[in-house]
Symmetry: C2
Subunit: 348 residues, 2 copies
């Protein structure tokens, strides 16, 4: 498995995206988001997405180089329309706008409608935590998992991320969870490996629990009705509220309205002394760390802590890329005339 240093992978990704039709600033922001995910071990949301992103540009499903325009809002609310811009571009704009609103109003809600795939949403809440703000972000897209008690795909695996700063130079706490029982990638991996999947991950076309990855018709929501209820409310808060409903039009008429996102920024200084807030978050983190681990568990981790540790490790050792991912990126580089980093040249 080839290992690539983060900066080399970022520069390569930016070059691939630029050659594939992304405007320079859009390519930079997207590459940064993807490599952040790889650094943290979320390889399913990393550079393996690049060939599809380039294809989406070619198909007109994503556009780059346009403007993310504010089309609505009042007070502590702003509505941006991305015009099918890359997800990173729309969500970064929402992060900046929400942060500015929070400085003025204590909190700020920025909708980013009609964007494209937004990747690992923890990236955006982490950006807010770096500025001393609490960040909450959600994204919404078309059906990928079932609704509790119904057959087939009906809702997306809509993720929710919440991050809080800890101050004192420490990593923020970053919760980043989908509303599905499991990531689709884990079922694809089991299918490739000819392995059974555990019960509770997915159902077949008749809505029966299945352990056969080849019979999967829909992912199950996490925790049954809670997961599908939360996914539906994320669709309402992220898509419907911003004037770009996705699930209703898809189920009723097969129309695909793409992706939407939202960012809520909260300024702890609007509630009290932000240093006290950060100190109490650290005290909470210390109390969690001091819990006795269950049998077979090495240590008790905070949300986002494993990702931060992986990022430190991979910053040293480089990012390990699966052979298939490396091969596909090198092939794309050949097609687009982009130079391949030395560490990946062997994958040609």
């Amino acid at each position: 498995m080839p290992h690539v240093q983060a900066e080399a992978l970022r520069a390569f990704s930016e070059a691939l995206l630029t050659a594939g039709g992304f405007a320079p600033g859009d390519a930079r922001q997207t590459a940064e988001l993807l490599v952040w995910a790889n650094l943290r071990g979320i390889d399913s949301h990393g550079v393996l997405r690049i060939p599809r992103y380039v294809e989406m540009i070619e198909l007109g499903m994503m556009t780059s180089g346009g403007t993310v325009a504010q089309v609505g809002g009042r007070g502590a609310v702003a509505v941006l329309d991305g015009g099918k811009c890359p997800g990173a571009v729309g969500m970064n704009a929402a992060v900046d706008k929400a942060a500015a609103l929070a400085r003025d109003h204590g909190i700020g809600w920025c909708a980013a409608r009609a964007i494209s795939h937004a990747g690992a949403v923890g990236f955006f809440t982490a950006r807010l935590a770096e500025r001393g703000l609490i960040g909450l972000a959600m994204t919404a897209s078309k059906p990928l998992m079932s609704y509790h008690g119904a057959l087939g795909e009906a809702l997306s695996t809509n993720p929710l991320s919440i991050a809080a700063p800890m101050g004192d130079g420490q990593d923020p706490v970053i919760l980043d969870m989908s509303t599905a029982a499991v990531a689709l990638g884990k079922i694809m991996a089991a299918r490739d490996a000819g392995r059974a999947i555990p019960e509770g991950w997915a159902v077949d076309a008749e809505g029966r629990a299945t352990t056969d990855p080849d019979r999967v018709a829909a992912l199950l929501p996490m925790a049954g009705a809670k997961g599908s209820g939360l996914s539906m409310m994320i669709e309402i808060l992220t898509s419907v509220l911003a004037g770009n409903a996705v699930i209703g039009p898809f189920l009723a008429a097969g129309r695909n309205n793409g992706f939407n996102g939202m960012v809520l920024a909260i300024d702890p200084a609007a509630f009290g002394d932000p240093a006290d807030f950060a100190a109490e978050v650290r005290a909470l983190a210390d109390a969690i760390h001091a819990l006795p681990p269950a049998a077979g568990v090495d240590g008790v981790l905070l949300p986002g802590e494993r990702g931060a540790a992986t990022a430190r490790l991979r910053a040293e050792t480089g990012i390990p890329l699966a052979a298939g991912t490396a091969r596909r990126l090198v092939a794309l580089a050949g097609k687009l005339g982009v130079a391949v980093p030395e560490a990946l040249a062997a994958a040609e």
Copy 2:
């Protein structure tokens, strides 16, 4: 099982609470909250709580008749301090304040710190939906369930509710979920009945999965790390942010700082035409209702729909009270000199 009409139960509850030391307005608000839960079939959060609430007043764990004072906030943010007021009183004040902030700023976040037990939080988000606003509410309290990967009780089952108006005279969508795999009451019921519990609900003192309700040392979070991560973030957003941390001080020093709540109100009119919003929520609801039900499922229900149907039924037939609940309320009435409704007199 005695059946009591909702209004008779509400009046009886108000009289019991008043005789038990609640100020008149506080008793009225608390009775309304409890009977709302009973009407919707959430009997675990209904009038069975009254004897404990009266005991909490006697013990000084709850106070009534004080003021819910604004102690902080800026722009679209307000921080209320309840001074250990009844949960309904603190949360109703937060609903009113958040709604007023949302009218002015598009969104409004109101913290309600140092309140008491807030019951079924869907009550408060439903109040916002009745006013045409989206409501989000969370409450936080002391350890009742485990942290993923750790032994013993570490986090609360902190609930999250989100409600959205559908307009057109229709019931709002109301998601109301705890962050635990199951309600504690279901384990108590299995214990009373001598039944095993399903795997995945709880762990024993060594952190092993158990199906024996007598060996339960802690509830499990819903969906593993997702449930404990979400509960921890609710503690940060609800308790730490408002300056009344609960989990950290409890785990570190056994100190019980009680309960906190928060309410976020969102005005759809700040995003676009609120009539369009409500129409799109109805279209989403229609699409969900039209999904083919899985085998063994009668029909596909929206979040909160079963509760609304139960409330309509119980408004007709009266509220069925478990024999033990009826007996305890009648005994409390005898002690406090409160007249017992005819429907409950047989339970003496």
